[in-house]
C-alpha cells in the first residue's frame, strides 16, 4: 500500500511540476514582446525522501524558477546604451549647428558670402571713391555682415540655452527613475528573503536601469542581497530601498557617458568653441578694417576715424560688433583715400584686399572662417560615426541578449507539447495506481 501511495505521490508531484512548467511557458509566450523580459525556466530535481527504500525516488521537486539572464551582456548593453544615447543627443544638436555654417551651397547666403560682399563693396568703391552710391553700398553691405554675425551669435546662444534648459528635466527624470529603482529593489529584497527569486521584478529593475543608462552611465553592484547603484564618478544613486537624489549642481563633466553628459559637453565645450571662433573672426575683422580705415582720409579730408565701433577684446565680439557712430551718421566719413586732398582709392583697395590677405589667424579671413566650418563639419561627422558604431554595438548586443534571454515561441510550443505529454503520462500513472488499488481492495472484498 505504501509503495502504491508513493507512486501516487510521485505522479502527483509530476502533475504539479508540469502545471508549473506549462504556466511558465504561457507566461513566456505572453511576454515574448515585453521589453527587458527574460525568459524563465523551471529547474527541477529528482526528489529523494523515500524512507523505506532510499534508493527509489519520490517524484520530482521544483527547485526554483530560473531567469535565463546573462549579466555580462546586460552590463555591456547598458554601457553601449549610454554611449549611443549620448551620441544621439550630440548628433542632433550638432546637426542644428551645422545648418548655421552650411556655406557649401553658393546659392545659400551665409556668413562667408556676407564677408565677401562686404570686402567687394570696398573694391567697387575703389573704382570711384567719390561716389555716394558706392559709399552707401559699403555701408549696407557692412550692416548685412554685422547682422549675419549677430544672428549667428544669437542662434548659437539660443542653442546653448536650449541645451542648458534640457539638463534640469533630465536630472528630474533621473531622480524619478532612481526612486522607482529604489522601490523595486526594496520589493525584491522583501520577496527574496525566503529564497524565491523575484525574476519579474528583476526584469523590471533591469529595464529601469537601462532607461537610466540612456541618461547617464551607471554601475550596479549586488552582493549578499545588498543592491547598490552608482554613477561612473562614484556618486551613490540607490542603496537597497533608499534613493539619493541628484541635484543639477552635482552634474559635472566627470559624470559618465549618456545624454546628460552630451548636453553638458555641448553647453560647455562645443558651443563655446564655435562661439569663440566666431568672435575671433568678428574681432580680427574689426581690428584689421579699423586699422586700415583709421589711417585713411574720408571725403572731407578727415583721418583717424574707425569704420567699426572699437572693441576692446575678442570676448563676445560677434555680438558687440557694429558700425562706428561716424559712419552710421554720414557715409562721407568712410575713408577711401590715402591723401587728405583728392579722391584716391588706395585705402578702399587696401581694405578690399583684406579679403585675401593672410593677416588673419590661420591665413586669410576666408581661411579662418573655413576652419570653423571644418570644425563644425568634422565634429558632426565624428559624432555621427560614433553614433553608428554604438548603434550597431547595441543591436549586436541586443541580438545576443535575445539569443540568451529572448522568448522563442517555437521553443515554448515545443516545451508545452513536452509537458502536456508528461502531464498525460503522469495522469495515466495515477489511473493505473487507481486500478491497482482497486485490485487490492477487490482482494480484500473477496
Amino acid at each position: 500500500m505504501s509503495t502504491l501511495n508513493s507512486i501516487l505521490n510521485s505522479s502527483l508531484s509530476s502533475l504539479r511540476a508540469d502545471q508549473l512548467a506549462l504556466s511558465l511557458a504561457a507566461n513566456n509566450i505572453a511576454n515574448a514582446q515585453t521589453p527587458g523580459y527574460t525568459r524563465q525556466r523551471l529547474v527541477t530535481a529528482p526528489a529523494v525522501l523515500n524512507e523505506a527504500f532510499p534508493s527509489i525516488g519520490t517524484g520530482v521537486d521544483v527547485v526554483r524558477v530560473q531567469a535565463m539572464r546573462d549579466q555580462m551582456i546586460e552590463t555591456r548593453l547598458r554601457e553601449e546604451t549610454s554611449a549611443k544615447s549620448g551620441g544621439d543627443t550630440l548628433t542632433k544638436t550638432l546637426s542644428d549647428i551645422e545648418v548655421l555654417f552650411n556655406d557649401t551651397d553658393a546659392s545659400n547666403p551665409g556668413l562667408l558670402q556676407a564677408v565677401t560682399n562686404f570686402f567687394n563693396s570696398f573694391q567697387t568703391l575703389s573704382q570711384d571713391p567719390a561716389s555716394m552710391n558706392f559709399r552707401e553700398e559699403v555701408k549696407s553691405n557692412a550692416q548685412a555682415l554685422i547682422d549675419t554675425l549677430h544672428s549667428r551669435n544669437s542662434d548659437l546662444k539660443a542653442l546653448q540655452h536650449r541645451v542648458d534648459q534640457a539638463i534640469a528635466p533630465q536630472v528630474d527624470q533621473l531622480n524619478q527613475l532612481t526612486s522607482q529603482i529604489a522601490a523595486v529593489s526594496a520589493e525584491i529584497k522583501r520577496q527574496e528573503i525566503d529564497g524565491h527569486a523575484a525574476n519579474d521584478l528583476r526584469d523590471r529593475r533591469g529595464e529601469l536601469v537601462k532607461q537610466l543608462s540612456g541618461i547617464v552611465a551607471v554601475h550596479d553592484l549586488e552582493s549578499d542581497g545588498d543592491y547598490q547603484l552608482t554613477t561612473k564618478d562614484n556618486r551613490l544613486l540607490v542603496f537597497n530601498g533608499v534613493q539619493r537624489q541628484l541635484a543639477a549642481s552635482d552634474v559635472t563633466s566627470s559624470i559618465g557617458e549618456g545624454s546628460l553628459k552630451a548636453n553638458l559637453d555641448l553647453r560647455d565645450n562645443y558651443i563655446p568653441k564655435y562661439l569663440n571662433a566666431l568672435d575671433q573672426v568678428a574681432y580680427e575683422l574689426n581690428q584689421q578694417v579699423n586699422s586700415a580705415h583709421a589711417a585713411g582720409y574720408d571725403l572731407d579730408g578727415n583721418t583717424g576715424n574707425n569704420f567699426f565701433a572699437s572693441l576692446s577684446s575678442s570676448s563676445d565680439a560677434s555680438r558687440l560688433i557694429g558700425l562706428s557712430s561716424s559712419v552710421v551718421a554720414d557715409t562721407r566719413k568712410i575713408a577711401a583715400s590715402s591723401q587728405s586732398t583728392g579722391n584716391d582709392n588706395q585705402v578702399a583697395m587696401q581694405i578690399g584686399n583684406l579679403l585675401t590677405s593672410p593677416v588673419f589667424t590661420g591665413g586669410s579671413i576666408t581661411d579662418q572662417y573655413r576652419s570653423l566650418i571644418f570644425a563644425v563639419g568634422s565634429d558632426l561627422s565624428n559624432s555621427r560615426s560614433d553614433l553608428n558604431e554604438h548603434q550597431s554595438m547595441v543591436s549586436q548586443l541586443e541580438n545576443r541578449r535575445q539569443a540568451a534571454s529572448g522568448v522563442s515561441v517555437d521553443e515554448e510550443t515545443a516545451s508545452i507539447l513536452q509537458f502536456q505529454r508528461s502531464y498525460q503520462a503522469s495522469a495515466r500513472m495515477i489511473q493505473m495506481v487507481d486500478e491497482l488499488l482497486q485490485t487490492t481492495l477487490g482482494m480484500i472484498g473477496a
Binding site: 515574448a32 514582446q33 550638432l94 546637426s95 551645422e98 545648418v99 555654417f101 552650411n102 556655406d103 557649401t104 551651397d105 553658393a106 562667408l112 565677401t116 560682399n117 567687394n120 573694391q123 567697387t124 575703389s126 573704382q127 570711384d128 571713391p129 567719390a130 583715400s337 591723401q339 586732398t341 583728392g342 579722391n343 584716391d344 582709392n345 583697395m349 578690399g352 584686399n353 585675401t356 576666408t366 581661411d367 572662417y369 573655413r370 576652419s371 566650418i373 571644418f374 563644425v376 563639419g377 568634422s378 558632426l380 561627422s381 543591436s395 541586443e398 541580438n399 535575445q402 539569443a403 540568451a404 529572448g406 522568448v407 522563442s408 515561441v409 517555437d410 521553443e411 510550443t413 515545443a414
Partner: protein
C-alpha cells in the same frame, strides 16, 4: 545560437532603417546633383568647396573692376586720338600762316577755338568723374581764368583698381603728364595764336616745334594707355581661364556622379523590396502551424 522571433523583428527594423538611409542619400544626390549637401558629409571637401566658391565671387569682383578700367581706358584712348588730330590741325594752320598774313589772322581764330576744345578734352569725364585730374575726380582739372590762361587743378596721383590678388591696373594718366607736362599745350597754342596774328614767323616756327614735341608726348601717353588696355585683356583672359578651371574643380568636387547615384538608388530600391518581402515572410511559419 538561439534565434528568437524578437531577433527577427529587431533585425528587420534595423535593416529597413539602413536601406531607407541609403535610399534617401541616393535620392538627395540625384535631386540636388551634389555629392555633399552639408559640411559633415565630408568636412575637408566642404572646406575646399567653400574656398572655391569664395574665389569665384572674388574673381567676379576683379572682373567688374577690370570692365570699369577697360571702359575708362577705352575712352581715354579715343579722346587722346582726337587730341592728336587737333594738334595736327594747329600745326597745319601755323605752317600755312608763315609769310601769309591773311591766313594768319583767320587761322589764329581757329587756333583759339582748338585751344578751348583741348580744354574740354582735358576735362573729359567717365561716369561723371574727371579722368585727367589725378585723384581729384570731382572738380575739373583745367580751369580757364579771366585772362584766358589755363591752370591745372588736379594732382599727380595715378588711379588704379585691383584686378587680381597682386595685380593692379592703372586706369588713368594725370593731365600733368599730358596737357601740362613737359610742353604746356594751352600756353603754346596761345603763343601760336599771338604769333600768327602778329605775322611773327620765327615765333610761329618756335611754337610749331613745341606742338610737335607735344604730339610726341601724346603718342607716348597713348602707347602707355595701349599697354594698360593690353594688360587688361591679358588679365581678362587669365581670369576667365581661371574661372573655367575653377568651375571644373568645383564640378569634380561637388557634383554627384549621377550614373552612380542612380544605380545606387536602384540597388537600394531592390534591397528595400527584398527586405520587405523577407520581413513579410518572417512570421508566417511557426511550429503552431503544424500542430493539429
Amino acid at each position: 545560437m538561439r534565434v528568437t522571433e524578437g531577433m527577427g523583428y529587431q533585425n528587420l527594423l534595423r535593416d529597413l532603417e539602413r536601406v531607407h538611409e541609403r535610399l534617401q542619400k541616393a535620392q538627395q544626390q540625384i535631386s540636388s546633383g551634389k555629392k555633399i549637401s552639408a559640411p559633415s558629409d565630408d568636412p575637408s571637401l566642404a572646406s575646399d568647396i567653400v574656398r572655391i566658391n569664395g574665389e569665384k565671387v572674388e574673381s567676379a569682383q576683379y572682373q567688374r573692376n577690370l570692365q570699369f578700367g577697360q571702359s575708362k581706358l577705352g575712352l581715354t584712348d579715343t579722346v587722346l586720338d582726337g587730341l592728336q588730330t587737333m594738334v595736327e590741325r594747329a600745326i597745319t594752320l601755323g605752317q600755312s600762316s608763315i609769310s601769309n598774313a591773311t591766313a594768319g589772322t583767320s587761322g589764329a581764330v581757329e587756333v583759339d577755338l582748338l585751344r578751348d576744345q583741348i580744354i574740354s578734352v582735358g576735362n573729359t569725364t567717365h561716369l561723371g568723374r574727371y579722368i585727367f585730374g589725378g585723384s581729384k575726380t570731382t572738380t575739373p582739372p583745367y580751369v580757364k581764368a579771366a585772362d584766358s590762361s589755363v591752370s591745372y587743378q588736379g594732382n599727380n596721383t595715378a588711379m588704379t583698381v585691383q584686378v587680381g590678388r597682386a595685380v593692379t591696373l592703372q586706369t588713368q594718366i594725370p593731365g600733368s603728364e599730358i596737357f601740362s607736362g613737359s610742353v604746356d599745350v594751352f600756353s603754346t597754342l596761345s603763343n601760336l595764336s599771338t604769333a600768327m596774328k602778329n605775322g611773327d614767323n620765327s615765333g610761329i616756327d618756335a611754337q610749331i616745334k613745341k606742338l610737335q614735341q607735344f604730339s610726341d608726348v601724346v603718342s607716348v601717353a597713348r602707347t602707355k594707355i595701349a599697354g594698360f588696355i593690353n594688360m587688361g585683356s591679358n588679365v581678362a583672359s587669365e581670369l576667365s581661364a581661371k574661372d573655367l578651371a575653377r568651375a571644373g574643380d568645383l564640378k569634380q568636387e561637388q557634383d554627384a556622379d549621377i550614373a552612380q547615384a542612380i544605380s545606387e538608388l536602384t540597388m537600394s530600391q531592390t534591397a528595400l523590396q527584398a527586405t520587405l518581402a523577407a520581413g513579410a515572410k518572417i512570421s508566417q511559419i511557426s511550429l503552431l502551424d503544424y500542430l493539429k
